[in-house]
Structure formats: structure tokens, C-alpha cells
Symmetry: D2
Subunit: 367 residues, 4 copies
Amino acid sequence: MAGSTIGTLFKITTWGESHGKALGVVIDGCPAGLSLCEEDIQIYLNRRKPGQSSISTPRKESDQVEILSGVFEGKTTGTPISLLIPNTSQKSSDYSEIASYYRPGHADYTFDAKYGFRDYTGGGRSSGRETAGRVAAGAIALKLLKELGISVTAYTKSIGPVSIHEDHFDLDAIYTTATCMPDQDADSRATAYLKDCMQKKDSCGGVIECLVKGLPAGIGDPVFEKLDANLAKAIMSIGAVKAVEIGDGIRVSSTVGSENNDAFYCSGGAVLKKTNHAGGILGGISDGADLILRAHVKPTPSIFSQQDTINKSGENIQIEIKGRHDPVIVPRAVVVVEAMTALTLLDACMLNMTARVSYLKDFYQKP
Amino acid sequence: MAGSTIGTLFKITTWGESHGKALGVVIDGCPAGLSLCEEDIQIYLNRRKPGQSSISTPRKESDQVEILSGVFEGKTTGTPISLLIPNTSQKSSDYSEIASYYRPGHADYTFDAKYGFRDYTGGGRSSGRETAGRVAAGAIALKLLKELGISVTAYTKSIGPVSIHEDHFDLDAIYTTATCMPDQDADSRATAYLKDCMQKKDSCGGVIECLVKGLPAGIGDPVFEKLDANLAKAIMSIGAVKAVEIGDGIRVSSTVGSENNDAFYCSGGAVLKKTNHAGGILGGISDGADLILRAHVKPTPSIFSQQDTINKSGENIQIEIKGRHDPVIVPRAVVVVEAMTALTLLDACMLNMTARVSYLKDFYQKP
Amino acid sequence: MAGSTIGTLFKITTWGESHGKALGVVIDGCPAGLSLCEEDIQIYLNRRKPGQSSISTPRKESDQVEILSGVFEGKTTGTPISLLIPNTSQKSSDYSEIASYYRPGHADYTFDAKYGFRDYTGGGRSSGRETAGRVAAGAIALKLLKELGISVTAYTKSIGPVSIHEDHFDLDAIYTTATCMPDQDADSRATAYLKDCMQKKDSCGGVIECLVKGLPAGIGDPVFEKLDANLAKAIMSIGAVKAVEIGDGIRVSSTVGSENNDAFYCSGGAVLKKTNHAGGILGGISDGADLILRAHVKPTPSIFSQQDTINKSGENIQIEIKGRHDPVIVPRAVVVVEAMTALTLLDACMLNMTARVSYLKDFYQKP
Amino acid sequence: MAGSTIGTLFKITTWGESHGKALGVVIDGCPAGLSLCEEDIQIYLNRRKPGQSSISTPRKESDQVEILSGVFEGKTTGTPISLLIPNTSQKSSDYSEIASYYRPGHADYTFDAKYGFRDYTGGGRSSGRETAGRVAAGAIALKLLKELGISVTAYTKSIGPVSIHEDHFDLDAIYTTATCMPDQDADSRATAYLKDCMQKKDSCGGVIECLVKGLPAGIGDPVFEKLDANLAKAIMSIGAVKAVEIGDGIRVSSTVGSENNDAFYCSGGAVLKKTNHAGGILGGISDGADLILRAHVKPTPSIFSQQDTINKSGENIQIEIKGRHDPVIVPRAVVVVEAMTALTLLDACMLNMTARVSYLKDFYQKP
């Protein structure tokens, strides 16, 4: 089935494999008149690219993006924006062995079960490299949201047992620490933990949190197109994510109503809430408070210690994976969570513009 | 926006408000030739309907379903199936007061922010009654999945601090306990806890788990239409759900790869896994193991104790909600989780039928 | 497949068979705040209903519509509007014979080929009665378009060899003549022709034209969602339509560029065209001129003279169709063309509201 | 809005402008296991490319396609296929003048009305060059349909006053004549007519017919996803098409039922029809007979004689268009009609595979 497209009005279609010629994305439905150049997109791709620290794979990819269409004289035209990112570091020979067996925790077996065979070089389409297209498209959504006064910021909340601490919260650190933690101290401890993991030929998981500020009330639609439902889909569609929380998330199941309800109050004409257990969404529609979500990311499945598995002939074998792998997926996935959140929010904001007859009248009857 | 439709090939559209004339659903894309009568659907609606125990709202609704189209001589025809459930217990007078203010934890404020006004009787479209249409449609999906050898079973895993225990697991208890727990002992303790909540004019949350058996490997699509992504959307779209987990869910963020990876092995020609931390999904595609997901449900926002809030004039006020409300949403939402899971799986199974050229050849070149 | 839904933002889903319990439609995505009552819809259904003249089937259907959801205190709420039209004149016994064979020109054979069996009573889902749901939904679109200053008017242009004459054009006559021709004289001649057809146990075809005034320039989208492309789909989806023309339509293939091009000119600040061969659409986007389209409707396939066909056992047989049938489909389909045009235009107008970044800024940054 | 995607299961997204860096298309949902190389696609692009005869624009474009993803070891993998066609002959300087005014018959004015500005070089996204992506995607659909025994063949039926004659019908001539007429004699006369047009600085229109053989009965879905409705949309979405006919098309409006009905008969176990006025579609579903459709194409709007129009300042001016333009669009659009027909049919064939419960059982319960 056609699974590489997401969005209703701001619609993106990604394509490309880990070791193919290139990766890319087509953004269709971007409003006309947005200033856009390659650098606007590159800054986000740079946050995702590998080989930038001692806790990342040494594989090098320049991930240089090129705009092929949809921009004229520096502005978006309203027609599809095609973005291309050539692959430069394909060592397909690395993967000859992998072709014959199924790596635990990877999609090797399920792709074969579905399609009868697979592109086994670097995971093909199931590789984390697939997210480059998401990030490139997300960069455009983030730029447009910013012009509407909406900011989206994701960061690492925890890696293995190490969590950030509220008292040390420092947004700038997201962009300077190797872990993308907004907490220098936690970053140090997490880095130490990761080095230990690597020494043990193991990997670990972690949590990414995303914070949205400036989102007006009224975004999202009832029933199946609830804002949280679409965010859950967008975030869970990122490889390795196994749980999504909105606001207090899993804590709501063990609390009581008198604690979980957020009391409304008015101040200076604005509708506010005393607490924000709901994470900014009530009944699937934004309530004007900060939107908060979390993604739980599993440990990198490629580990260097010995594992049991089977080969394509159905024989039980033991393997030791080689190659270049991150000991934790989280830091490089932070910007992917930011991108997917932005894409979902922008689409919902656009959809909201036809919610009332008065909006149509204002639009079509203006002098 | 049009948010009341979900599904690509097996597509449902729900409609109706808590206190309107009726609720309903149109199922479009149901394959022709399924035996179907009203009783097939009624048995699921009965599991959702209120007023069945001491821990449920005393509000009575018969929730009798009528098939209006799409079935001829006892079989589905392939054309849309329209199901109607009349509302019989609308006491709109109960709600005159609610019209003027915003209940904490409810969608009152966000609906007003979006649409400029709202149907305030019983929550209108944002009421939990909206799920009757989902359950009715889900009953058809469940029946068809069963004919393909796929079973979907949801149950209450915990209510407040009370969780089921593996050693007491008893599937039959789901349908006989008031809590829908597959554990008689946990049911007793949860019931006691709920009565205490009610006495304190409070409410509580809980966890619903859903277990799918018999799903073949290969279901789901890469990238944005991953099976877990669509399940996350379907489950998060249920009102009051604030977190969705697949397999080990949130636990993956604090574990290591050597523990989280599920080793494959072969036995009797079948591909099996020694563990199932992944919950039956790898790379967004089913791997043939049991599929497991969990929904975290917030406490019922309608509590009888005093709460701070605002009215439509922007004045800070205090309210005490009256009416008929469940102290916990979980037991009545169990069948909703089952329905949404079934709808998602059936759609994915249908989508999978065109994944290979050989499938098309087998279909169109049969003698 | 799920084929009973159309529209992206203003989305409708129809259901129901000719001789089932009822027909209906769910309109999802209707903006909130539109005054709506059953009479608004009934006036359009009345134009479609049978048994109103000597050239229509004597079958009687009251086609009374009931609003089941989506309207509160006289206004649309933004949530799905469910409309129900009970069937009252089902004489299924009429159809026992038809079950065994395939009527020429009908969908009997193709439904059996697709689904393995069919609801043979009155054509089931393939009956012209299916369009009642379209007309009911179209009534809402027409009402909303009117509030935006856009009028949509369809009428009969020709029946068999009888065409309306420009010099006699009289819009009011559409609603008073049995043929729905805006020309009293042509109506008389067409009526005479039809009576002759009926006497010969035959039927005839005709042309429906639709004229849209007040549509602003800029509606429709490039490439696949061109306004004319979506109109062509909407109109061709009406049973019995075999050709769709926009503007000069088929005449463009035998003309030259110097005649077919419409010259632009400016007058009083407005952009106008000296001619309108294009029918108001250039490059798939409205140009501000009147939009004009035509549907060519085939003769009613149910004729009373003897015909060759086959039965379900594959035997060549001869049949004489009995029952209650219109000698021409056109007059009752006029309001269906109007409805489908309105649904398509309203959806396109809503989609256009996010075409520019400046529109988003105006919307979200208003004080 | 996002208008550059079409299809439900076999979904394509085109991008690119006439004078941008490149054009392309992403095909998502192509089944796995189809042998595919660039030459398979190139042969279709070569039929569309300009500069191949005395009656075509002398502009040269090599239109070389490159496969960037979705094919591994010579076979489609089931993941998105990205195709790139670099632009090589961009003389943007040609277009400096056009930027200031609106060409009659072109989308210049409507793009400005919609987006506030436009890429004026060569028509930007509204250029006929946009169809290169359609043809590239169509080539894949055509290859797959062929493996299912379904052939799709389009050809020029008429150019201006010159029509092909049944007695001279010669399919091979489609690929050898400059007009793509399956009639050498008509080709000569049409060529003479076109040269006369060119001398008069004028252009002309024509008709393209498309013939489908081998399509089984049962393809297409009732109501809005009728096969003819989707074909009408696909064909009308091609720039310059102003009318679409199925089977007898416009002739049905002036005929009678006894002539228009196609009588069924059985022969050798097969269900056949004595005539095929319906063009192979009844009730929106294929009936097993040849599928026939026609597109009416307007004259090339770029003519070299003087025309009245306005500039962006709203002044009435006179222009003479320069540049490289085809005197007739038809021959180069033949393969576009073939592509759009194939894309629509393949999608409908895939959608049909879930029409019956028995199909699902056969698929999922095979040993």
C-alpha cells in the first residue's frame, strides 16, 4: 500500500533507501509566499546527521539538501516542493552477510514476510535514514509555524536511567550537547552511561519530549482527527518509538479526577489553566496551554554482542552484527520528533481555517 | 474539517450527539458476502451500554441497533452499511446550567474556541456516547477478522492502584466482572476502590490492554502507515486516552538492546520469537507474534466535588457537577479499544492484499 | 472498496438502496454556524422526487428528510450532519423476476461480476434513488454557497432532438415545466416527443447544463485537483451520464486557437473576458467568468419493448421489463447535477483558503 | 491545497516546473516484484518528448529518466519509486516579457489570482511539461497491467476537421506517424492541415481516443468511485482537455433506449454484448467489453498572431507570443491519455481485490 504520504492539506511524501542513490521528499500544499532557501532546511538536517560525536555512529553523511521545484525567486509558489538528499556513504559490501539472515529487533523478517524479498543494504527503506525526508519537510513546517507565532521544541528527556532535572533546564543545551539534553549535567552522566553501554557491546533506549508554545485554542478536530490522535500516529510512525504520551500520559491511569482535572481561570481577558495535566489538549482540540508529548524510544537493535536468530533457510544461527551503529537512537531522533510534531500541527492549523461559516464569509466577502 | 471518518478500504463514518435524536455509523468498503444480523452487533453494544452495575452511571440507554442498508437476504452486499442507534434517555434539562460554563477536563471550552458555540447537552459530539458508532462498526470488523482466524480481545488491566495478576488470568471474567478485568480477585479489589472513590465524590483512571492472536506476519506498511502508528491514532482518538503503548511500551526507554531484542528461532517450519518485547510489530509490520497494546485512560472528568472554573462571561466561578456519571471510564471503554483495534487491523489486512505483483497475478489470472 | 464518500473538507457519505428501509447521507466538515432546517433540504428533494408529471414514473415517494444530528438550536455545529429519508413505496414483489436475469443497460451484470450476488430489488444501490442522498447534501452546499454570493443553476438543455432556444431562455421555467427546461416552448415540444417515446415503449436521452455565477477567480488546484477534473468526476459519477463538457466542450476539438482563446480586458478595475469559450476555468482554476458545464445523459435503460439478454444460468432469453419507469432520466437528474456541482465548488472554495501564507497570517494573527 | 497526488492504492505524486531544475514523480504503492529498469519508462517518455517532427515545437528536451529509489536488483521492492527527469533546455530569458501580462487561454491569470504571483518561466507548473511525471508513472502502470493481460492504447482520432477512418485503421501507425493517428492517409491530410494552421499563425484542436482490451468485468466501484467517474477526472486533469466521453459519449443524449441498450448474450460460457454503446462500463463497473473513452483537446493557446489581453497593471494591451510552440497539443498528449487511463485502471483493479469476503478468505487461509 501507499504508506509514504502523510497530511491532508500540508501533505508530504518521502522516498529513498539507506543505500540507494538518494533520499527525498515532496511537500505538496505548502502555501505560496514563504521565503525558502536550502539553508533553512539544512540547519535541521545537520541536527539529524550522523558522525557528530563520540556517542554517534562514525558513519559520515553530508546530507546536503537541494530544492528541485516549488520555489521561485526565493519564495514558495504553492506547487510541490521537491527536496533531494544524495547518499554519499554507501558501503553496500558491508551488508552482504545480512542479506542471508534476520537481525533481531529489525524489520528484516517483516519486510520479507510482506514483500517476498527486501533491499537488505543498510535496512533499505526501514533504515533510520528514511527520516531525513521527514526532517527536511518538517523544516518548512517549522518555519511557517514560527511565522504564525508557534514554536516547537523537542529534546532528550532521558537516556537509559539518566533523566534531565527541572532545576537544570537549559534550552540552549539541546543544540550543544551530544545527547540533545537541555541539561549539561545530565548530558555528562548520560554520556558516561552510553560509553559503558558501548563497552558492553550493548545499546540503550530513552525518552524524547516535545514542547509547543503559542498554539491557539481550537486546533484539532473531534472524533478521529483529534490533534492527539494525529500526533500519536505521527510520532509512533518514527521507527523505534514504542509508546506515546500526551501531557501527564501514563500517569493519568493511576491518578484521580480531582487531581487530574485542570481548573480554568481568567486573567487579563485570557482563558488560562492552573495546571496542565492535559498537555494542552481537551477532547482532541488544543486548549491554548503548552502542548506536551513524549516518545519512548527502544534501544538500538544493532548490538555488537552475540545474538540468536535464524537465516532465510530457517536454520537457527548465532550472529554478531558489525558495522557503524549509534549506541542510542534518541539524540538523532529528537529533530525527527520536532519535525513530525510540526507537520501535524501545521496541517491541523490549516484545516481549522474552515471550521466556521463566518470564516468563509470573512474570506470571500472581503472588499 | 471532516474528522468523523477513519479507514482506507474498510472505512467508517460515525455521527450523532449524546442527546440528539440518534447516533449512527456508516461502514463503507465492507466486503460482500458476510453473514450479518443486528444481533451480531448488539452483543458488542451491550458490553458498552451504561447502567449495568453499581460502578456505572445509573443512566439507562437500550442502545438498540438497526441495520438500514447494505445487507440483503442476511449477507453484506459490498455497499455501505448504515447502522442507527436511537437515543432514548435524553434529559436535556439536566444540562441548562452547564451551557453557561466550562467543565474542567471536558471539551466544553475547546469546542467553543473552535466552533464559536456548542451543543452543550450531555457533551454533544464530545460525549463518550459517540463511541457507540465505533463499537457497532467494530463488531462487523471483529466478525470478519474471526472468519480469517484473527481474534482481538481487550480487557481492563488496572483501575487506579489495582492491577490484574498474571497468575489469576481468566479471560471469561472479562465478560462477567463489572470492571471487565480478567481476574476475579482484582475485580473485587477494584470495585472496593471505586466505591471509595464515589464516596469521596472523586473518579479514577486505569489501563486497558488489548491482545491480538492469529495475525499473520506482513500486515502494516512502512513509514507513515505503520501498523503501530495507525493503532496509536485509533486508540488515542478514544476520548480520555492519554498514552498508548505497543508491546513493552514505556519500558523500552529504560532497558538495553540485549534485553529488548526478541531472538528469532525456527520450530516446525514456523518463524517464532523467544520473547515478545516488540508486541508483535517490527518496523511497523506484524511479525506473526501476539500483538499487544495498552491505552492509559484518565479519570472521569465529571466529579461531584467542588471545582474552580470560569463561565462564558470570563468570570472565575465554583461549580459542583450533577448528573449521572461513571466513576471510571475504563470498563465501558474496553469494548471501544477492541473495536478500534479490529477496525485498524482489518483495514491493514485488506491493504496488504496488493503488496506483491504475484498477488495480483494470482487474483486476475485464476482460471 | 469504499466508494460512497466524496470531498476533502466538505465530505459526504451516502448510503441506502432503492428498496431498503431508508436512504441517507452523512455530511462531515460542514462549517459551524449555518442556519439549517429540514425545509431547506426538502425543497431540493421535492425537485427530484418521482410521480410529479405525466412524463415521470407514477411511483410515489414522499422523500421526507429528517435531520438526525449536527444541528443544534437551528444552526450547524461543525460536527457530522446525518440526514435520513425513509423508503415508503417498496413493492419488492415487482422484482422477483429480475433477480434471475441481467437487464441490458443496467448494472445487474456488473454488480454480480463484482460482488458475486446483488440486491436486485429496484436496482438496489445502483438505482437512481441513490441520488437522493446527494441532493440532500447538495442542498446544504447550495445554501452555504449562496451566502458567499455564488449561485448554481442546472436545467435541461435538450431532450432527444428538442433543444432549448437562447431567445426563449426563462430561468423560472426550470421550476415549473415538467422537463425542467428554461423554455416553455421547448418544454411543450419535448413533452410531445416523450409521449411518443412512451407509446413506442421506448425511452430517450438528453443534456443537462449547469451555470455558476459569482464564483471568484482562483478556485481549484493545479494538476490532479483541477476544478474541471473534480467536476468531471462528480458529474460522471451520476448514473447514466456518459459525457461531460466544460465551456465549449467537444467543440474545442474542431476549432482553432484564434477563435477559442478568450481575450482578457479590464473594465472598472475588474478583469473580464470578451468571450467565455473556456467556461470559466483556465489551467484547472476558476477565472472569474461564469462556469458552464454539460452532462450527456443516456436514455432510461428500462424500456417496455422486447429485449435480448441472458439469465444467470447463461441462457440467451428475451425479456419485457415491467414496472414504473421514467421515459427520460434528465428532468429528475437536473437537481442532481446542481447538487454535485455545488458540492464540488464548496469543497474547492474551502481548500482555496490556505493557498497563501498571507491567508494563514491574516487568520492566526488577527487581534 | 495538495493537488499533485492521485490514486488510492497505486498513488503517484508529480512535481516540477517547465523551467526548474527537474521534473519528477514518486510512485507509492507499486506492488513488489515487478521487473523495472529505466528503459521501460524511457520508451513512453520518448513518445511525449518535443522536437520530433515538423509539426512539433523545435524545442529539444532529452527527457532522460533516472530511477532514484524503490528498485533493488532489478525489481520493485514495494516502497516508493522516485523518478527524476532533469530539465536541460531552459531558456528563461524567453519569458521575461510574459511575466508582465496574461496570455489568453493560459493559466497565467488564474495562478496569479490564486497564489498572488507565479513562476512565469514557460508556464511553470501549468506547463504541459508537467505531464512528463504522469507518463513516467504511467509507464509502470502500463507494464503491470500488461502482465495481467490488460492492454491500453491511445491514439489521435481527429485533428481539426481531419478524422481517422475505420477502414484504414492501422494500430502500428500510432507509433510512426507524426500525428499519432492509426491511419496513414488521415495523417497526411492532418499534417497538411497543420502546416496551413502554422502558416496562418494559428493552432487547432483534436480528439484522442483510448481503447482498453482485456479488462475483466467487475472493476470500479459504485456511487462516487465509479470507473468512468475516475477516468473522467484523470483525463480532464490533463491540461487543454475540455470534454470527456465514455463509449458513445455525447451521442447518447440524442438516441433512444432501444438503440442504446447493449444486448447481452452467452457464447462459449462467456458473457458478451452484441453492441458496445456503453464503452465497457455499466453502473460505473467494467462489463468485460472493450473500454473506450475520448478526450477533446483545445487548440494550443500559444498562437503567433496578435491578441488582445491585459497586463498586470490592468492595462488593455496587444501581444504577439513568441517562442517554440506546438501547433496542436494532441499528438504529444496521446501517451498522456494512455498513462492516465492506465493509472486509473490499475488502481481500480487493486481496489477490487477486497470486494468479497471470499477473496479475503482465499488470501489469508491459503496453506
